[in-house]
């Protein structure tokens, strides 16, 4: 890959580690996990859709600032839409909504969209790769949120429209209260990463 010709190539360490931190803190209930995952998927998919055609008429020196401006605008558009849908959800996700502009998924979408090659690693189109990753991110975010809420509070929050969210009381006790805290989110993410490694090893593939 020729880096001289790339408009904006985010650092993979920033993409992988820093980009995933907001997910761990923000997805502390089913509703917040689903809303955060949907926002990340929305931003990433539209970045993948809009950046490649924009590269055709944007000069190389303006591609990086234009990509970041588009990413920030998409994150703001999603946060306003979520605020109109449910002010409780928007208040719960707070600063993490504008941070969708720099979420792990948005940075992956920016990296793939900035690539000069037309296809992704498995020969799929770049947009198909981004769509698949977005879908996985959405499912992971919702599952992480649901698991943290279920084990940490014994409830499940449904993302209903309006000023308040409805909660289903699943259990009268909460076995692992630490999971609703950010530290608990990181612990859960560690276990998920270990599970991912074990699954990859069992299938004979090499991890990222």
């Amino acid at each position: 890959m020729s880096y001289e010709k790339e408009g904006f190539v985010p650092n993979p360490i920033l993409t992988g580690l820093v980009g995933i931190c907001p997910l761990v803190v923000a997805a502390k209930s089913l509703a917040e996990g689903a809303a955060y995952g949907l926002g990340a998927a929305f931003c990433a998919f539209l970045l993948g859709l809009l950046i490649p055609p924009a590269r055709a008429f944007l000069p190389v020196r303006l591609q990086a600032p234009a990509s970041l401006a588009l990413s920030a605008a998409l994150a703001l558009i999603y946060s306003f839409c979520l605020e109109m849908y449910s002010s409780a959800l928007a208040a719960g996700l707070w600063i993490y909504l504008p941070l969708l502009a720099a979420s792990g998924l948005s940075l992956v979408a920016l990296r793939l969209s900035s690539s000069t090659s037309r296809s992704g690693p498995d020969g799929q189109s770049r947009l198909a790769v981004i769509a698949l990753q977005s879908a996985w991110f959405l499912v992971t975010s919702a599952c992480v949120g649901a698991a943290r809420e279920l084990l940490g509070l014994g409830t499940l929050t449904i993302p209903t429209p309006g000023p308040s969210l409805s909660r289903i009381a699943v259990a009268d006790f909460a076995p692992l209260r630490i999971l609703v805290t950010p530290a608990g989110g990181f612990i859960l993410l560690g276990f998920l990463a270990a599970l991912y490694r074990v699954t990859l090893r069992a299938s004979g593939r090499k991890g990222l």
Binding site: L62, L70, I77, F80, E83, S87, A169
Partner: protein
């Protein structure tokens, strides 16, 4: 040389115009969201405190609350606001009602989770949240709104 400069200027203007359109779109959406939130807060306050329909008294620039509403009840005039209380990994929206002197009268949680808290947990939760400072700032804004309303 001159042609290059002209081309660069046209490119810059085209990108500035595109970014301008994006900014316009975001600004329009923010106004729509602002109006929607204002209506939602008004209806939440009306539902929490069965008085007259709330009227916007003051808009404030505070991270925990944005609008102060005035409303009338049988017991006299009240001011209300929807406060976002947050702590270490938790958040809740609360309707807070104050007297014109800034004295806190009622608190209603907008979150159904509040109904599930036991008394001990309520106490812990209220410690958990940095409630006191937020409610004091709201009281100060209510006194401002009351002074402006006189």
């Amino acid at each position: 040389m001159m042609a290059d400069k002209r081309e660069t200027l046209v490119e810059n203007l085209a990108v500035a115009a595109a970014v301008g359109v994006l900014v316009l779109l975001v600004a329009v959406l923010s106004l729509v969201a602002h109006a929607g939130t204002k209506a939602q807060e008004g209806s939440s306050l009306a539902a929490a405190c069965s008085g007259s329909s709330p009227q916007l008294a003051l808009e404030v620039d505070d991270p925990a609350f944005e609008r102060i509403f005035s409303l009338r009840k049988d017991s006299g005039s009240l001011y209300g606001t929807v406060v976002s209380l947050r702590g270490n990994g938790a958040s809740a929206l609360v309707c807070a009602f104050y007297s014109p002197q800034g004295e806190l009268r009622e608190l209603h949680t907008l979150d159904s989770f509040g109904d599930r808290l036991s008394d001990d947990e309520r106490e812990l939760t209220s410690r958990f949240f940095d409630t006191e400072r937020v409610l004091a700032r709201a009281a100060e804004s209510i006194r401002d709104a009351a002074r402006k309303g006189e």
